[in-house]
């Protein structure tokens, strides 16, 4: 038992990568795997339990095939997850590096902004932005551009502050390099690995947020399949057809596990 657990811990990176790869392949190949349309209803075949008909994972209350809904939802949810992470990742690292490198007034202002964001009810912001842009994918992108950078800034700031007085940065300064060049060429490559580790856990968190918005009815809108709205539609039938809300949740958990295994694996490797 102990040995097995230890072994599992050391191969986390590969297990995570394989899990994620399988999901991505299934999502990309969804049109070839699924023999049913994810949106078309079949009112003669509603609420078929998994394995009882030609629908492998059953059908929902409108007779839509669960397997194809789950895989098509993976296409949307995963694509939004990756795309919405790009801007916060880059801007957060740079804000954090500026704050850590210059210190003083820059740091004071940036940390005041950070504190304000923390004191701000997080979901108030998310909901307001969702109402502002109308439910849908733009709302998600804009919301995470506004709040997503915080995590990366928090990682980059102390790392940069600790490198600022290191010999190689001092050497670069003596060579007459500009602050901008030092930040981009000397500090950034050293901050990047830590930031990538955080990226993995933050993507899992972002996926949960996307799904949560869908659950609240202000995320990805119907008829586009989304794991969150699927769970919310299935909740009313939890007593009679629990698979309706369990299966989409399992997909989210599966993705989350694969991402955090990759993150853990990378952290071990780069330590």
């Amino acid at each position: 038992m102990k040995k097995l657990l230890k072994k599992l811990r050391h191969s986390t990176l590969y297990i995570g990568l394989i899990m994620l790869l399988l999901l991505v392949i299934a999502a990309i190949a969804a049109p070839y795997i699924c023999s049913y349309d994810p949106i078309s209803q079949d009112l003669y075949a509603t609420l078929k339990a998994p394995g009882t008909s030609e629908h492998i994972l059953g059908t929902d209350q409108l007779g839509r095939d669960m397997l194809s809904r789950l895989l098509y939802a993976a296409r949307t949810d995963l694509a939004v997850m990756v795309l919405a992470e790009i801007v916060p990742f880059i801007s957060g690292i740079f804000i954090g590096m500026l704050s850590g490198y210059f210190g003083g007034r820059t740091e004071w202002i940036i940390s005041l902004v950070t504190d304000t964001f923390i004191a701000f009810p997080y979901y108030l912001l998310v909901i307001v932005v969702a109402f502002m842009t109308g439910a849908g994918i733009h709302g998600i992108f804009i919301t995470f551009m506004i709040v997503g950078w915080l995590v990366y800034a928090r990682v980059a700031k102390p790392l940069t502050a600790s490198m600022k007085n290191s010999e190689w940065v001092q050497a670069a300064k003596l060579m007459g390099y500009s602050d901008f060049r030092i930040i981009v060429r000397e500090i950034f490559p050293n901050v990047l690995p830590q930031a990538v580790v955080v990226l993995m856990t933050d993507m899992a968190a972002l996926l949960v947020a996307i799904v949560t918005l869908g659950y609240l009815g202000i995320g990805i809108t119907a008829p586009t399949p989304d794991w969150g709205s699927m769970i919310s539609e299935g909740q009313t039938l939890i007593g009679t057809a629990p698979y309706l809300s369990l299966l989409p949740g399992l997909m989210v958990v599966y993705t989350g596990i694969s991402l955090s295994l990759i993150g853990d694996g990378l952290a071990d490797r780069w330590r």
Binding site: L5, A119, P121, Y122, I127, F131, I238, G249, G256, L261
Partner: protein, 339 residues
């Protein structure tokens, strides 16, 4: 007998060393506290400014929301004037701030027609009880499990605790809540499926599943943090010395190990708690609890500006107090943080 004498000597010594540092500590502590207080007020003001203007960016007119889509234009205009919505936003903000400063009045809800404060007071107790119960569960389980893992390093519990976060990090809170409903309410019938019971026992009983749901998301990172700190302190020279001096184990744990290792975990918990204030919305929706989250969500959907501002203000004050108290405890426990 010898143990007792040693304990006494030990205590006297530590008292003497702190006494000489005490006045210096108090001085820098006071300076820090004034700065922290000023900063907290700044944060509250910034939150209020942000909420006030952001909520006005949302398309939709509160007067139309109250009177309906097909209301008479003159009636809408009259209501707009009554609510001061015809003034420029800057002027509205000044009125709002003056009312808060002079009488701590956050105005009257557009939708419900009663004062926002009474609405907050009506909805807050459920949410606060929920947070309190979940914090209780979180603290007890975190301390027990982290101690177990740190004491038996590389044991089964230790390995489990390091693997479990990988599973819980990606679990949506509302889905965990649904699982709990499915097993403990639908299958076993131990707890109600949703809603809040009235009266002592029924009230707390209906909050158990929501509180466990919240705690579930909080515990794994806290255990990880406390375990790391505990291991670091347990390996420190001074603990080895204390053990060699035959100080009772329980005393080493509580007075020395725990005191020196809980601060980072406490800080992490305070940040999590801040997120929770708005984040109970989801758990409230899953379990059909009428709390602050629901009040806020409905206020935004109704464009009930005064109510949104009031909820945000009370939440911000609560968050700022939590982080201030946490910082105070942290500085008392570890005066090195003042430097």
């Amino acid at each position: 007998m010898t143990d007792k004498i040693k304990e006494k000597n030990h205590k006297a010594e530590s008292d003497k060393s702190t006494a000489s540092n005490r006045s210096a500590f108090n001085k820098s502590y006071r300076a820090w506290f004034i700065r922290a207080l000023f900063r907290s007020l700044t944060v509250i003001v910034l939150v209020m400014i942000a909420v006030f203007f952001i909520i006005r960016l949302v398309p939709g007119d509160p007067a139309v929301m109250v009177l309906g889509e097909h209301a008479d234009e003159a009636a809408v205009e009259a209501l707009r004037q009554k609510l001061h919505l015809d003034m420029p936003a800057g002027q509205q903000f000044i009125v709002f701030i003056i009312n808060i400063l002079t009488s701590f009045d956050t105005g009257i809800s557009i939708k419900y027609g009663v004062s926002c404060r009474s609405l907050v007071l009506q909805y807050a107790p459920v949410t606060l009880s929920l947070i309190l119960l979940s914090m209780l569960i979180t603290v007890v389980l975190t301390v027990i499990l982290a101690f177990g893992a740190a004491m038996h390093r590389d044991g089964i519990l230790d390995h489990m605790i390091r693997i479990i976060p990988a599973f819980t990090e990606g679990m949506p809170v509302f889905w965990v809540g649904l699982l709990l409903i499915l097993f403990f309410a639908v299958k076993l019938g131990w707890f109600p499926v949703g809603g809040v019971g009235s009266g002592g026992t029924a009230f707390w009983k209906s909050l158990v599943l929501p509180a466990v749901t919240i705690a579930f998301g909080q515990i794994p990172p806290l255990i990880r943090s406390l375990r790391e700190q505990l291991i670091e302190v347990l390996d420190a020279d001074f603990v080895v010395t204390l053990k060699a001096a035959r100080i009772p184990k329980r005393q080493i744990f509580i007075r020395h190990v725990l005191r020196n290792s809980f601060v980072p975990t406490l800080m992490l918990m305070s940040v999590n708690l801040s997120y929770l204030i708005g984040g109970t919305l989801i758990v409230e929706k899953v379990f059909a609890v009428r709390g602050m989250g629901k009040l806020l969500f409905d206020a935004i959907s109704n464009r009930d500006f005064p109510l949104v501002q009031a909820v945000a203000l009370y939440c911000a004050i609560f968050v700022v107090i939590i982080s201030l108290v946490t910082d105070m405890i942290a500085h008392r426990a570890d005066p090195r943080m003042l430097e």
